[in-house]
């Protein structure tokens, strides 16, 4: 173990799909109690990276250390035990399409806890309320809009008060007001519960407020993993180019925020 206060550490992860080399030696420490945001262009392997942490994909080389244990070497039961600490949102939400919204959100409570039915109902109702989903509990995922699916996925991931959150693009497909609220919610709950979170996001300038660390994945390696301030001061050409592009978008996002503040 090289990193003292890390709860997850990726060491030299390599992964190819056929001839395509997606990850070429990813090193990434995830610090306990902080939010690490993984950014990078589409198709660079961010989702693949998350799946390595979850033990859904085995790396060709390298180690995935979660809580001091190598995920790639765990037995099924140990892996399952480890996963009880995760709260996961997939990029495509991965809702159970033959269950209603309510049952989707209640599933982890019903399967993993002995909570009485009335309490489950209460808790799910509260989460639905929080995420502005009241009234849709009897709908099926196919009947939801893209942003609603994302929110149902979020609600499901948060049910068991996980220690580690892994969110793949939690706000993609949400309108600015909603994504603002989701970030707000993250911020508040994290302060309260102190969980570790890993968020993949394209919502770059905005996510800077939430992120403690930002990791830039490009060409199959983590180019930099630093605080937002450090990232903006970094001299590495590749990182500079990235930041400059982001700054361009920062401008439009400020207009958005102004509009928000003005209540438009």
């Amino acid at each position: 173990m090289t990193c003292e206060n890390c709860c997850i550490e990726l060491i030299g992860i390599e992964k190819s799909f056929g001839a395509q080399k997606v990850l070429r030696g990813v090193n990434l420490p995830i610090r306990r109690g902080f939010t690490t945001v993984i950014v990078g262009e589409s198709g660079q392997g961010k989702s693949v990276l998350l799946k390595h942490i979850l033990g859904l994909i085995a790396p060709d080389a390298g180690q995935v250390i979660v809580e001091g244990r190598d995920v790639t070497r765990l037995r099924r039961s140990e892996l399952k035990e480890l996963r009880t600490r995760f709260g996961v949102l997939f990029q495509g939400a991965a809702l159970f399409d033959s269950l209603t919204v309510f049952d989707n959100i209640a599933l982890p409570l019903r399967e993993r806890t002995r909570m009485p039915a009335a309490e489950v109902r209460e808790k799910v109702r509260a989460t639905l309320e929080l995420l502005d989903l009241s009234g849709s509990e009897d709908k099926y995922p196919a009947q939801l809009s893209g942003g609603m699916k994302k929110r149902v996925g979020l609600a499901r991931a948060l049910q068991l008060d996980p220690e580690i959150l892994l969110f793949d693009e939690p706000t993609t497909g949400l309108d600015p007001v909603r994504s603002h609220e989701v970030y707000q919610m993250f911020h508040e709950t994290q302060k309260k519960l102190g969980y570790t979170s890993i968020i993949v996001s394209h919502d770059i300038p905005k996510i800077f407020n939430l992120a403690d660390y930002i990791a830039l994945l490009h060409e199959g390696v983590i180019q930099i993993c630093a605080t937002p301030e450090e990232l903006q001061r970094c001299e590495k050409p590749l990182v500079r180019a990235f930041v400059e592009r982001v700054m361009g978008r920062m401008y439009s996002s400020e207009i958005e925020d102004l509009a928000l503040a003005a209540g438009i």
């Binding site: 979850l54 996961v88 997939f90 495509g92 991965a94 399967e111 993993r112 002995r114």
Partner: protein, 262 residues
């Protein structure tokens, strides 16, 4: 030549791997039955899906198989002047062979395909990954209730098939073609032994396991098969599943019969 051998070897290895994986699949599905939390509702739901909804098709297949047995039996036995043995012939062929095998095949076609498609779609849309990430054992949650429901349903469906078939044979052989009612009933009663019923029961339970095992396994590992992507991958897996489990039922039928008759 070398290349040809290599291909052959690779194919053989691939098949062996698949069989190994299927063995592991069955193992975890059975282990899942005994893992808490125990839930009765999913099993009841699956009994409805596998058993109750198959009732009509089993009823009609049973009736017509019995009727055609009555017809054929009457015709053939009359050649030997043994019309009296019709009850025995119909009963033994139904109980020992046709009941369990045809029920198994009908259920494969009706339910096996839907099991495979359901599990396959859950796989390609990452729902199974999501289950695993929520630390819910997908075998216990998805497959085990189907195994239990199938083990409960198939013997019952087979029994229904047999009874309806016997009545069909009676209808045609006795009522329609004018055979002796007393002979049909008495030879039927006297020829079917406890061992025959036991064979019927064992077969239907084996088929129940085979159907869910093969069909769910095909769906569960659809992403590992060649071109196992999207709707087409699932549809191909479903076809495979039905073909493989139908053949497996017939093979298993032979094996079980030869073991039990020995």
């Amino acid at each position: 030549m070398v290349e040809w051998l290599e291909n052959l070897g690779a194919k053989a290895l691939g098949i062996l791997m698949e069989i190994g994986r299927a063995g592991v699949f069955l193992f975890w599905s059975v282990v899942g039955i005994f893992r808490p939390p125990f839930k009765i509702m999913p099993i009841i739901k699956q009994i409805h899906v596998i058993g109750a909804t198959s009732f009509t098709v089993i009823f009609f297949t049973g009736a017509f198989v019995g009727m055609v047995l009555g017809l054929q039996g009457n015709y053939t036995l009359r050649m030997f002047g043994a019309e009296g043995a019709l009850g025995s012939a119909v009963a033994l062929s139904l109980v020992r062979e046709l009941g369990p095998v045809l029920t198994g095949l009908m259920v494969t076609g009706r339910v096996g395909s839907s099991i495979c498609a359901e599990v396959g779609i859950m796989r390609i849309s990452e729902q199974i990954d999501a289950l695993e990430c929520m630390a819910i054992d997908p075998y216990r949650y998805l497959i085990s209730p189907k195994v239990v429901a199938s083990i409960i349903s198939l013997p019952l469906l087979t029994a229904i098939f047999n009874i309806v078939g016997l009545m069909g044979g009676f209808l045609v052989g006795v009522r329609l073609l004018g055979g002796s009612e007393g002979a049909y009933l008495s030879t039927m009663k006297s020829s079917v032994m406890a061992a025959d019923i036991r064979m019927c029961f064992i077969k239907s339970i084996c088929f129940a396991i085979l159907i869910v095992w093969i069909c769910a396994d095909r769906g569960y590992w659809v992403h590992k098969s060649r071109n196992g992507f999207g709707a087409e991958g699932v549809s191909r897996a479903t076809t495979h599943a039905v073909v493989i489990s139908s053949v497996a039922i017939l093979v298993a039928d032979y094996v079980i019969t030869s073991l039990l008759l020995a």
